[in-house]
Assembly symmetry: D2
């Protein structure tokens, strides 16, 4: 299968977060989709809508099936979603006896949105753990060098002296709040073709949804959210605030390591033309990434208005914007960890 | 005083929300600032930092003082904030005995940010009330005409029939959530020149802050938020979600009143060239405003990274972006009320 | 008439450009519309489509007519454009004999877009003149103090010494280019209801359009541009580049006047809490305005996709975004003039 | 070498443009950089600054050198640019005799910006050719089916009938203009460490720059453009206008193929839940891509303010935004070609 990820040349090193990137790779996406289809079948077996033999067959088929990835890519481009072609291939694998029990009552969006939520939950676990580690590192910095007197600056002018511990406190407070607010609402999507689940899934809808949500570790929402994208917007908003709080550290460090200020120094950062220079590369990268994440989040929010019962335009735009915002936030978290470990008192 | 509000010509009618606009007019801003200065003096009288005579004088002076508005405007432009000149004038009015008791220990940002929060609280009360009224109107619409069969559409194509009640339910759910989440955290700002209140306000800082917050109906935050602008970002994020939820109604109605669809009709909307036309002006305006609010919110979020202990650049950018986002949301809420009242079944 | 311009409180002083603001005030907008209607009548009298008596009556009526501004505002809100109500009032003033000769064959968009172009031409004349003055001031600065050695900085670190003249040269070059590229394409709009002028204006269309364009000092485009908004986008793009080139001066000066750098100093900028400080207010404002103009330009460009033969949504969004981008650019040009005149060598 | 391109999962199929993507892959980027270094050596051999033997050695070394890509990636992350590590490796390959003749006088930005321009020139050639093909296809569509009567729509309501040829004309005009305005200014960058080429390259600077520009097929600018990024901004602006003009076709087609409108139909677009549906996937994708390109262009323009003599933050942001804008435009051009070929009259 020749997926065509967006290449960013050398600059991709700035956006590097192998862990989060892997979660948005086609392989992980397909695996999550099959996990959702499987959970649907389990739930429908529970309510008796499909038989035990069908469930067994689906369970087996969902385990690393031999898919035709070229056809999946073609299907994606033709249909705007990969699910119709994925369903076709899976039903072919299942054969005529069980084909109809696969993807029963569901719509592409149910599978795609739920598979996204599965991975967003993983993303937030990773980011939450890194945030904890950054807070520890800041605590260490404050306890080791916090007594150092530095200059507080307002409107780019010297204001009054305070200490490195004071500065670190202004860095840590928003991060601590954000750690406590790590997103925890990852709703299942199960609405059927037009978001009216009762008409598709019948009387058992609530039972199935509850069972699926439990099996997948997700929340069961009051109503399908096919056109109500606030759950995504809230996660992106948290990412934007996190990337900004990390970007502030970068912006402050850039100034603290300026030659005539020289309150801190930062190891690394070679110039090809001026060997005497020591460029604050990681600090700059944090500011760059904060601006990048803010822009991609804004694009996601601009895609939050979905007309009708499903908006192909707005939905596709989410797919381009959200992974970029998240991977940018992940890269910022890795860069922050690196930056803090490379900070030294100036003398 | 010749303040120079941004004129938008005829288009200003689209952004019209007299109630919210008045809250961001210079008059309201100055009144809120004096309310904050007064609350500071009260708190400091409570801790004994200033005397009773000083408090009386300040109380009297803060009540509609005769300010030189031309000088305030000049001061604003010269200093980037109006507080230094306002303080100078107020101290002149108070005379040498009590001058030093005014604005004691505070920094411009304490006054400006707190005065903003006072008005944001009012804004959210107004928007919350309108949201309640919109939800009622939607409830009425559903109970009167909810049984009407209409078409559900996905990816701009007819999908399956459902009812107007189903459609209204997808409009109401996010609005109901947003009504329940109307912002309620409006923190006091009291940090002094560099956000280290203990050094400025001394041992009484917590007591003063608590007293001020209570007197003003605000929250007392754990730490000054001079550079941590998440409280503003969260309010704007709520506005963006509200404007988007209203914009979705507009987008759907635009399609439902299209001539060949004709599920609904909307009164009003004359064309200068084609008398047979009936333009869905209010529906279009809701989409326009959703996009406008989303863009201004994005600008606000892009201003959330404040370098050093006070960023003149980022702070000023907030002043341009936030009122625009809020007034746009207010205009959307008024437009939505008007739109719903003008909706009719097509035949 | 109670138009409701967007108030921005004290911050409006940052966006103040009385000259450009007046061009976007309702008064100027209506005057420009009547100028366009008059030019249309003149052109149609030239081709014999309307009579000499009708032209005389229209000429008289267009000169400061007694309009009901309250009804215009109501019409704007009801119809989404002011032209239907303006036409109704003008036709009433003209009486039954000449009513039909007013706004003959035209659509609201013809009048509104052309009236906008009339004012954009004035805007560019003003901005072009200010740009010339900024270039002169920079030339003076370089010839007076250009020999001063200062530090070149790359990636926020000291690189190598150069001179103030070198620095000023990097400021001046883009400004000089932009001065040479001051927008000069301001197309007439004359397309009738659906942008097919031949069907509305008949065989005389090209003649009328040519005559109108000449009378108004505008260009006659190859085709109506009802949905092709590149002319607006190009003007906004120029504004964005101009505001950015001025913002760069602000960003550089902020660093050059930092206390430990102290290559330059800037008069003005008082702090309410720290009398020893001297805040670089005008320099900050230039950066703020560059970011503001960039965001409003981005909003305008996002409104450049107009579906169908006229998009109410996208068109209205232009009205909110473009004046903001332009007035922000104007404010930046005034601030730059002020900044340069307040720059001093540090010692 | 494990570069980490941004993966976008299945959605990458929407952004697929293998041709343009390859131009931004690390391999192409390194090849372009070596081409620039080689041209520099040639120019310096021409002026006698380096010897013939050195040039021979550099010519040989630049031809597919055995680079340590892992070290390059590490260098990129450490130094914020890959050039220092690339130079180190190339000098090691050249050995002590010729090492100093490689990258002589140049700074990383000279190499990186020039290597970018080499590829932007290729990009514009490709996009220009596709634009020509789209215009031909539109011409064919108009000549085959142009007589078909369809409805012109304004403000989402039926206005008056016109023909498919009329509609196609509004699509083609901006595209024809844009084809004529395909970017042709691709400036060489050669400024040395602080953009003062005379001090680095000596008296021969103009000669060298002229020779390099000629050898590389680029323009020689009046002055280095290290901090003046208008050339990039102009190319992105053209891309934004192109993507928008293509997006308009998509937006119009979405409406023309709506079931109750049914003026056209579009082959392809299967639903997993509703086999009767025919989703206008390519039309939606054109709108999505227009919005995507507009947002990435806005991000690029927001990075056009570079403080000091080189801004690490703004420069890095360009690397993230510009390829995304360009590849999105490329994907739109491919999608448009596909869309037009799949358009059919409805009956």
């Amino acid at each position: 299968m020749s997926w065509h990820p967006l290449p960013l040349g050398m600059a991709s090193a700035l956006l590097a977060d192998e862990t989060l990137q892997a979660m948005f790779a086609p392989k992980a996406e397909l695996a999550a989709m099959l996990q959702v289809e499987h959970a649907l079948a389990q739930a429908q077996a529970g309510t008796g809508e499909i038989g035990a033999a069908a469930l067994s067959a689906i369970t087996a088929a969902c385990h690393d099936p031999a898919l035709d990835h070229g056809a999946l890519a073609k299907g994606m481009r033709r249909d705007g979603v990969v699910v119709p072609e994925l369903t076709r291939q899976m039903r072919a694998l299942l054969g005529p006896d069980h084909a109809a029990s696969f993807h029963r009552g569901a719509t592409s969006q149910d599978i795609i949105d739920t598979a996204l939520m599965l991975r967003l939950k993983q993303v937030c676990t990773v980011l939450g753990a890194r945030l904890g580690s950054i807070l520890e590192d800041l605590g260490d910095l404050a306890s080791q060098h916090g007594g150092q007197t530095i200059m507080a600056r307002t409107r780019f002018q010297n204001a009054l002296p305070f200490t490195l511990a004071d500065k670190v406190q202004t860095w840590a407070l928003p991060l601590r709040d954000l750690a406590n607010q790590t997103p925890s609402y990852f709703p299942l999507q199960l609405g059927g073709p037009i978001g009216m689940p009762a008409s598709t899934f019948g009387a058992n809808h609530q039972t199935s949804a509850q069972a699926m949500a439990e099996a997948l570790g997700l929340s069961a929402p009051a109503q399908p959210w096919h056109t109500d994208r606030r759950a995504l917007g809230n996660i992106a908003h948290w990412c934007q605030q996190l990337a900004t709080a990390l970007g502030k550290i970068g912006a402050d460090v850039m100034i603290m390591v300026q030659n005539p200020v020289a309150e801190l120094r930062l190891t690394g950062g070679v110039s090809s033309a001026m060997p005497h220079k020591n460029n604050p590369v990681a600090a700059e990268a944090l500011v760059t990434l904060a601006r990048y994440v803010t822009a991609q989040t804004a694009l996601l929010q601009s895609a939050s208005l979905h007309e009708n019962e499903r908006s192909g335009v707005a939905w596709s735009l989410e797919w381009l914007a959200l992974p970029a915002a998240i991977i940018g936030t992940g890269a910022a978290s890795l860069t922050a960890i690196e930056l803090i470990s490379n900070l030294r008192l100036a003398a």
